[in-house]
Amino acid sequence: MDRATLAARLRDILPADAVVAEEEALRPYAGDALTAYRRLPRVVALPRSIEEVQAVMRLCALEGVPVVARGAGTGLSGGALPDESGVLLVLARMNRILDLDPVARTARLEPGVRNLAISEAAAPHGLYYAPDPSSQIACSIGGNVAENSGGVHCLKYGLTVHNLLGVKLITADGELLEIGGAALDAPGLDLLALVTGSEGLLGLVVEVTVRLLPTPAATRVLLAAFDAIDAAADAVAAVISGGIVPAGMEMMDRLAIEAAEDFVAAGYPRDAAAILLCEVDGEPDEVEAQVARVSEILAASGATGIRVARDAAERARFWAGRKAAFPAVGRIAPDYYCMDGTIPRRHLAQVLLEIERLAATFGLAVANVFHAGDGNLHPLILYDANAEGELERAEAFGARILELCVSVGGTITGEHGVGIEKIDQMCVQFSAVELERFHSLKAAFDPNGRLNPGKAVPTLARCAELGGMHVHGGALPHPELERF
């Protein structure tokens, strides 16, 4: 359907200001935080209610128009990249906190509520919402559900999926499904986890019920320096083997440390090969005991220096360097490409060494920041998009890193999602049978494939075509398929 006709049909069912169809006005919606990919949607719709979303979905079902959902547009994998023939359904205007019940410790939210706004609203009750992706000031809860977002406190407090009670989902046909609710479980198959992280391919999340946690009485942060990456990795293992589950456990390598120091002067030791940030929380006396115990373990693991933040201000400064790591790296190179592989932590030293070797091969520098507690690695590949061929080299390097993660038993994406960015690496991680089941699951929700088409799960034909490029473990990923 052409732009003018589609816009007119949408204006029949939505208020005039809820439809955007002028080319200039569409530009801000051309992509998400993965800026290398941009294209204009046919039309943008900005509904304010579940009824309006349903009306749009019914129209699109009738006319066979694809629909891509978008929240705040902070996604890092191109999941909200528009479809050129489709409607981009922006849920940002549905941003009300519908209910916050401090007794039940739950909040019922429209999908456009910002992540941080939930904890801000809960704070007066001594409660907070645990998942804290680094974009939490801007990203919305609907997007968090679609991506199963993590953050720096996942090891102890889990991902989005661990902090949800229920969602309301609108299907491709405009039907409203309630999945989960205010109770801790629901009858039949548990679809909550299936829908969480489904990247807008199974349905549109129009309401979310989250659980809130009591704010810990005390929090302390330790900063430890190491003169070798593997010593830092061993220290993480030793802390966890010691029966301590830190609230946060972050690692940065030398290039990331230097970039962060130059940017925010967090007080990190510039001569260290790696630093660890370890946060413990709980009851005050317990936290003091844990700080002592963690210090002992870190020292025994070869830490060359250990500092405990004395007060909230110093704690914030320790974290500032880590939280600013991405923009800090952004200052030392014209562009960077952020990867998101997860590995079993015991392979960390091996994987980092291999990344170093690949960096030399590709002629590109890489800074590593690492959610060390849960094995989620964010190598930042530095490049210059204006230099001939560097983007392609950065992408090829990134692909090799993800394949490396898979080869040690890890995954191509820990928390950023597949989207459009990592769709080819899906062929490395999953077999033809597994991909076929994913497509069939999609069809169980969306038989005509109109929701976020072309994302998250590659077609078998696409994987077969790539087969020659991605030789994994010496074997082609899909020997059963014909090669062209």
């Binding site: 039949g188 030793a238 083997s241 029966g243 169980a444």
Partner: protein, 351 residues
Amino acid sequence: MTDCAHELAEQIRAAETSGRPLRIRGGDTRSFLRCDASCDTEVLDVRPHQGVIAFEPAELVLTARGGTPLEEIESTLAEARQCLPFDPPRFAPGSTLGGAVASGLAGPSRPWHGSVRDAVLGVTLLDGRAASGHFGGQVMKNVAGYDVARLNAGAMGALGVLLDISLRVAPVPEQRMTRVLEVGLAEARARMTALARRPLPITGLAWEAGRLRVRLAGSEVGVAAAVAAVGGDACEENDSYWNDLRDVTLAFFAGEGPLWRLSLPVTAPQPDLAANWLLDWGGAQRWCRTDAPAETVLTAAKALGGHAMRQRPTPARSPLPPAMAGLQARIKAVFDPGGILNPGVLYPDLL
């Protein structure tokens, strides 16, 4: 430790060809949850497919075959002072890991340490087309592909056999302690929600017959501080009470009369039923002994925003709304189009 994946696949392939259903079984300790309890169906016995495949204490991850006895999992974990965070009921010796995950039942620590689903990181699923696939993995964070692994927690084998399962495990707390407060039901409910709002190391809140029990678990200093905050008296039973609650073997559960489990929002008022109650999970799981008709109990649970399941004498579950029932049947068909694996295990003629 044996790998019988091939034999299991062969049996499924033969069943698929002939169109004869199979009844998946492990330790057969959870059959009271099944609606497909037909004794003349061919059995697919998962018990020979057993053994711990990998256990990395420093990563808090364990991978084991579906037929592995829970006892073996527990003793392996105990050597490293770790445990299953969801603390599954045992019911009887011989329970398997696959059965514990497939039935999706969690113990009294559920509101604080998470559900069975929450602990699942990955599975190898042998589905009704005799095809096996790896979903999820051995790492805490993994968002590649749809979360088929967690979908199988509580699916009662309707989508396939859990060949192997990777779980997130947890350290055993240094200390556990139970406090008892003598209070009536209404007061207990208010106390439970008030306690749960505070940052205390609580891992159990249960009330029956005028006694509210509060289980605390954590470091010695943390538990000592929490004891002062909770008040009440020391409790002699300590672990044994919570184990019996978990395994549904307390005196409350004895007798032939109907036994109902209601899963409700913690703030939902008590259902208006002539019944005897035991509240677990801080009030989110309410056990009920009543002779009220099934329809009355199911309606009451729904009206309060939750659902109900009768576990005795025969299983009965809250019905699925029509659109949801259709969707779940289509999901079943993705993995088991011939309907040969545990047909009707959750809902006769549907799932």
